[in-house]
């Protein structure tokens, strides 16, 4: 199977190279058969990549340690779901996933546009195949996922990193990669439109669902990563301005800007240079994110170390940036706007300002992320900036963004009048003023940025609610439907508009959660023995008893040892139940470690005790002090290395299990004090709820409206009639 996998990748590379040539030749000479052949090369790339991926996936599922990749990233004790998803925990597997998603999305868009964009699509196909060739070449020449394990194949693998054994972490990479690869689609069509000089809004309309889907998937990936960080990493935060986090946020921000500014091009033929530059920048930033994650050029929580990929990625990025600048500069005349901005008090101007804020956010994050390299280049000394530096710029820009997200949908196109302003802004401003006064009296004035954010969020939510109510009322006048039916019918007929409003509402809710949890959190690190208590944020936590357990895998082998604590929770003297938090210790496969100590020298993960609620989360993680067990562990190592070494494997295994059972019983009976991080964080749940609202809004906006479906069916019918007529009529 290793050979078959390698053959698929080599075939995929050949298909890419052929497809690029066929598409470009077809586009230059106008020969349709070559264009179609180039498009079919994309389908063939998808086919070969699917086969390669299935071969590798099957090897992971059956724990075939003859595959070096499976040996390094899976084991028989890894649960089945994580064996299936461990493929993208590796460099090679994640690159293969990138290629798979790219080829599938590319096939979909080229199939969807096979009878449209005839001049643009061949160039877009060549660009998409160019990306395909790049990633296939990496897999063939530098990072093969189909390398054989040298020497004797071991019976057990290293296993998936326990930190990654979390459902959201396993879904997070495919979401991110879907976002990155989908952003390659508008990039490719923008390049095609520039080369073919077809710079109207048609390519934007055709690729818009893909751009929105990319934005959706990348957003889901970012939120899943934040959720994983909050519930798995044992530090209680959800965002740390780590370069890898920033790498995913930058294309999402420019993608957001693009989704807004294309509306101006569609409606008024303006901002063509800006739009095409944004979409090209988003494509470059998506690749830059992939490069950052794999090059190891920046200090990050992620140890990548794969510097062999740095140079090829740099070459690709340089080609993308250079080519983009050259294309935009050479087509400047064709990109001239059809209209000019009529007034600064117009929806166009607000959208433009919103774009500038989003791009400003991206610039700040870019500068902060790459500052170590910039600093070294200028001063010769590597230096970095931390979260306080990011917050200094991000907080005011985020406040502006939320304000503009409330103004945008309320202000008129072209030129706002005083009557328009009074009609649309009076209620939201009134609600915002009331919220501001109420919250200030309630104590939020101690954190002015948070108070401003709450006020702006109230403004946005009131504005969106007002728009929905006005639309519903108008519909009811026309149709006489009851309110729920009128709301559903209104949204069904204007999915893009009301989906967008829902996204704005979700963003407001999300920012309320971020502002509250980052401004009013109460946190303590405390060391407790059983029976002792601590009070944090009004909650009384009592360490009731320690827990200690050996956890077997589905095949009966020991997967991990859990040491934890049961905590009794009370508030205002009222019992709220028990919180359980654990630290899991996974065995190391290091050859130098003793038979007992290897269970405490491998990876460790935290199982957070979480009591989530609308108002606040009570979050706690335990760090057991296993230092007092060290002498017993070392003694166990000595015993098993000396006398037990001569025993048969089965008997030795039984003895080792008994020793570990004794060790855990010892911890449970005579526990040393444990360190607890206790965090009372207000309104964190609002972040996840806000994100869900955003994604629901995006899905509504993505779903084709009945009118669009009817148009598409009519166009399909007309095309078929046209074809049949052409066949039947003699020349």
């Amino acid at each position: 199977m290793l050979v078959a996998g390698k053959a698929c990748l080599i075939l995929a590379l050949a298909v890419c190279l052929y497809g690029i040539g066929a598409s470009l030749y077809g586009a230059r000479t106008g020969r349709r058969e070559w264009v179609a052949s180039g498009r079919r090369a994309v389908y063939a790339l998808a086919g070969t990549t699917v086969v390669a991926f299935v071969i590798l996936e099957a090897a992971f599922l059956r724990s075939d340690f003859g595959f070096q990749l499976v040996l390094g990233h899976s084991s028989t004790t890894t649960p089945a779901f994580y064996r299936a998803t461990a493929i993208w925990s590796s460099q090679e597997g994640s690159l293969l996933l990138w290629l798979l998603l790219l080829s599938l999305w590319s096939s979909l868009i080229l199939f969807a546009t096979r009878r449209r964009l005839r001049e643009v699509a061949p160039y877009a196909a060549a660009v998409l195949l160019g990306f395909g060739a790049f990633f296939t070449a990496l897999l063939v020449f530098l990072e093969s996922p189909f390398d054989q394990t040298p020497g004797v194949v071991p019976a057990e693998g290293v296993g998936l990193n326990p930190l990654l054994r979390h459902p959201s972490m396993m879904i997070h990479p495919p979401m991110l990669y879907s976002g990155y690869t989908l952003f390659a689609v508008p990039f490719a069509f923008a390049v095609g439109a520039l080369i073919a000089r077809r710079l109207d809004a048609e390519w934007i309309r055709s690729t818009r669902p893909f751009t929105l889907t990319a934005w959706f998937f990348l957003g889901v990936g970012i939120v899943l990563g934040a959720r994983w960080s909050y519930s798995e990493l044992g530090w209680g935060g959800y965002w740390a301005w780590d370069p890898v986090e920033n790498a995913s946020l930058m294309p999402w921000l420019t993608g957001t800007a693009f989704l807004h500014s294309v509306m101006i091009q569609e409606k008024r033929g303006m901002l063509k240079v800006w739009n095409v530059s944004l979409v090209l920048a988003t494509g470059v930033l998506a690749i830059l994110g992939t490069f950052l994650v794999r090059s190891g050029i920046l200090e990050s929580i992620h140890a990548f170390g794969a510097s062999t990929l740095g140079i090829p990625f740099l070459v690709l990025i340089a080609a993308m940036v250079g080519g983009s600048i050259a294309l935009v500069a050479s087509r400047a005349a064709a990109l001239r706007s059809d209209h000019r901005l009529d007034s600064l008090l117009s929806r166009e101007a607000v959208f433009l300002l919103n774009n500038l804020v989003l791009v400003g956010l991206c610039v700040v994050i870019f500068w902060g992320t790459f500052f170590p390299l910039i600093s070294e280049a200028i001063t010769g000394r590597e230096a970095s900036v931390g979260p306080p530096w990011f917050d200094r710029f991000i907080v005011p820009l985020a406040l502006m963004l939320v304000l503009l997200s409330g103004i945008g949908p309320l202000i008129a196109w072209r030129r706002a009048t005083v009557a328009n302003a009074r009609r649309n802004f009076a209620l939201p401003l009134g609600v915002a003023a009331l919220a501001c006064v109420g919250l200030a009296v309630a104590g939020a004035a101690s954190e002015p940025p948070a108070l401003i954010m709450f006020t702006l969020a109230a403004f946005v939510l009131a504005g969106m609610g007002q728009e929905l109510w006005r639309g519903t009322r108008a519909r009811r006048v026309m149709s006489g439907e009851p309110v729920p039916l009128a709301v559903v019918a209104l949204i069904r007929r204007n999915r893009r508009r009301y989906g967008g409003y829902l996204v704005h509402s979700g963003i407001a809710v999300l920012f309320v959660g971020i502002a509250a949890s980052s401004s009013f959190a109460d946190e303590r690190d405390v060391r407790l023995s059983p029976g002792q208590s601590v009070t944090v944020g009004g909650y009384d936590l009592t360490y009731v008893r320690p827990t200690a357990e050996l956890r077997p895998a589905s095949n009966g082998r020991l997967e991990r040892i859990d040491f934890g604590a049961d905590l009794r929770v009370a508030r205002d003297g009222r019992s709220l139940g028990t919180l359980v938090t654990e630290k899991s210790y996974f065995p190391s496969s290091g050859p130098m470690l003793g038979p007992v100590s290897r269970y405490f020298e491998g990876e460790a993960t935290s199982e957070v005790g979480l009591r989530a609620g609308w108002q606040r989360d009570l979050w706690t993680a335990v760090s057991p002090d296993i230092g007092e067990l060290r002498p017993i562990v070392e003694e166990g190592d000595k015993v098993f290395s000396d006398s037990a070494a001569s025993l048969p494997a089965e008997q030795r295994g039984a003895l080792l299990a008994e020793a570990l059972r004794g060790l855990t019983a010892r911890y449970a009976d005579d526990p040393p004090p444990a360190t607890f991080r206790v965090l009372v964080s207000p309104m964190v749940t609002w972040i996840w709820i806000g994100a869900l609202i955003v994604f629901a809004g995006a899905l509504i906006a993505l779903w084709p409206s009945p009118r669009a479906l009817a148009r598409r069916a009519a166009a399909g019918y007309a095309a078929r009639v046209g074809r049949e007529t052409r066949v039947r009529v003699p020349a």
Binding site: F304, W367, S375, S384, G386, E603
Partner: protein, 132 residues
């Protein structure tokens, strides 16, 4: 005001805002950044009170003393190490041999870690070095 003049004024305002933002970015990043140092660099020249971002590998033999963890960080490729004391929760992947990043301030002979600044690198994601 005639439209051409209006556009010029708008352009000047927009460019001024961009220049201001860029100036603030450059100024604050250079003044608020902490310099990245290896243990050997810190061992030879570290000013008391200044914050440095220390990067290196954890040496075997770290110990916990209540909520304070005492450990030594050595050069990635080398044997020079410096003592660090860090108060607070230790990240799950922290152990001997792992790469860490921590903001430290020199106090006497010891480097004291800043609260919540200790980062231990996630060890298995994309570890190409395993192959070699």
């Amino acid at each position: 005001m005639d439209p051409a003049r209006k556009r010029t004024v708008r352009l000047i305002v927009a460019l001024s805002a961009a220049v201001l933002l860029a100036g603030a970015l450059v100024y604050t990043s250079f003044t608020a950044s902490s310099e990245t140092r290896t243990p050997s660099q810190l061992a030879s020249a570290a000013k008391p009170g200044q914050v440095y971002e220390l990067t290196g590998k954890v040496e075997p033999g770290y110990r916990r003393d209540g909520t304070v963890t005492h450990f030594r960080v050595r050069d990635r490729a080398g044997n020079v190490s410096v003592p660090v004391s860090y108060e607070g929760t230790i990240p799950d992947p922290f152990r001997a041999g792992r790469e860490v990043i921590v903001d430290v301030r020199k106090e006497g002979a010891v480097f004291v870690g800043e609260k919540d600044s200790l980062v231990t690198k996630c060890p298995s994601k994309f570890t190409a070095e395993q192959k070699s």
